[in-house]
């Protein structure tokens, strides 16, 4: 069967003889993590992921998938495979207990962006950047430079060069967003309309 819907094309043929074959890979795009800065001066926070064929397309698709409502001044995206994740903790145990010094290694240091999760069920929030040779070293540098008294449950590190940032000339992409109140669910005033309709139909 030939269809524009990939789910239809993935359906196995029925009643056909044949040899054992490796399972075909899914024809889905990979995922990219999306980080949004809601206001000037606020940190970027992780909002979710989009499917896309590459980093540039991910940036384009993330803009409407995650910032078509409310407020946004900037966003950036990174390939999910470029996000390095520390161990996870809970309760009063901080993830820094599991992060140890990395032995000195040769090679040039690169910039990594560091994101911390300090509330379970919330998002990872950008806390700063460190210079490191490996993701593991980025974690231990984050411990050394960015640790505070707060309990942190998980850390992400992404190489700065692997991120597609908003370019300065793209800042105006969100210029009219605060005016688009019609996209907020509260703006529909659905309850009021329903009440009015019921009153009208009963009278």
């Amino acid at each position: 069967m030939n269809s524009l819907d990939p789910r239809v094309n993935r359906l196995p043929s029925v009643g056909q003889p044949g040899q054992a074959e490796p399972k075909a890979p899914l024809d889905q795009f990979g995922t990219f993590e999306v980080f949004v800065q809601p206001k000037e001066g606020k940190p970027f926070q992780h909002e979710g992921a989009v499917h896309a064929p590459n980093l540039e397309m991910a940036f384009v698709l993330a803009k409407e998938a995650f910032t078509r409502r409310f407020q946004c001044v900037s966003l950036y995206v990174a390939d999910t495979r470029h996000v390095f994740v520390s161990p996870m903790t809970e309760g009063n145990i901080t993830v820094f207990d599991f992060i140890h010094d990395t032995p000195e290694q040769p090679g040039a240091k690169l910039s990594y962006e560091i994101f911390m999760l300090s509330k379970r069920g919330k998002q990872h929030v950008h806390v700063g950047s460190v210079m490191a040779r490996t993701p593991n070293e980025a974690m231990s540098e984050a411990k050394r430079e960015l640790q505070t008294d707060k309990v942190v449950y998980n850390i992400w590190a992404i190489r700065t060069d692997d991120i597609r940032f908003t370019k300065p000339e793209e800042q105006e992409l969100w210029m009219t967003l605060p005016e688009k109140k019609f996209r907020d669910a509260s703006n529909y005033k659905g309850g009021d309309k329903l009440k009015e309709f019921l009153e009208r139909s009963q009278s």
Partner: protein
């Protein structure tokens, strides 16, 4: 300054945005992937919003309310280019139309930021900001699919060739062209078309697509003077259905 000249300019721009906004909104729920469905629908909504802003300026010049103007005219009273009313067809055509149209639109509004007609110059700054995303979206997709597979390149090429004569109809000149230029309201369709050609050529040159020689093409015009294809009236009938049942309805 002649109000008729400004009104003619505003009507054709507003009608383009409304009709293409409505057409593009027909993809809502049918986009090729969820993220694209959301993006394309959002941009369609932007276009309808931009038409509302333009109809509001027209209202301030003595024309009827935006809803009345949008929902009660017949096809021959619309000034949109025929290009904008064509059915969506497959996604490759919609994407190529989005690319050709939005490139022209961002340049039109960019030129209008310098307009001597102040309300339009102020609006143009905002619309240009929204169109910056629309063109980023269009250019990225065209670059992506214009260089991806044999099928994607062939389909985009076919759509490009089909779309171009209609796209040239966007630049149909106004009877007030000279006056608009002389009074500094708008620098004119010819100038816009020149800028547009430079930009679309630059993007197409980054792909495996071939831009046909535009001088060999016959522009499909007439839309600006109310001569439309058979596709516009059914679109208007559907778009105005709720309004015609209950003009006071809010939704």
């Amino acid at each position: 300054m002649n109000d008729l000249a400004i009104k003619e300019l505003l009507y054709k721009m507003a009608d383009d945005q409304l009709i293409l906004g409505h057409r593009n909104s027909e993809w809502t729920g049918f986009g090729p992937l969820l993220e694209e469905d959301i993006a394309f629908s959002s941009m369609a909504q932007d276009k309808v919003g931009q038409s509302y802003a333009l109809y509001t300026i027209l209202h301030s010049l003595g024309e009827q309310e935006p809803d009345t103007v949008a929902f009660t005219r017949n096809a021959e009273q619309f000034h949109n280019s025929i290009f904008t009313e064509l059915p969506n067809g497959e996604y490759d055509f919609s994407l190529i139309r989005h690319f050709l149209y939005d490139t022209a639109e961002i340049m039109r509004f960019d030129m209008l930021t310098e307009s001597s007609f102040q309300p339009l110059a102020e609006l143009a700054v905002k619309v240009r900001a929204e169109l910056r995303y629309h063109t980023l979206h269009a250019n990225t997709w065209v670059k992506q699919l214009g260089s991806a597979t044999e099928e994607s390149v062939a389909r985009l090429q076919k759509s490009l060739e089909h779309a171009l004569p209609y796209a040239l109809g966007m630049f149909e000149e106004s009877p007030y062209e000279k006056e608009l230029i002389e009074t500094g309201v708008f620098a004119g369709e010819k100038k816009l078309q020149e800028k547009w050609l430079v930009k679309i050529s630059a993007i197409i040159n980054e792909t495996r697509l071939q831009l046909p020689d535009l001088s060999t093409l016959q522009p499909v015009s007439g839309g600006r003077i109310g001569k439309h294809s058979e596709h516009l009236q059914p679109l208007l009938n559907e778009m105005s259905e709720v309004f015609r049942i209950d003009p006071t309805a809010e939704w």
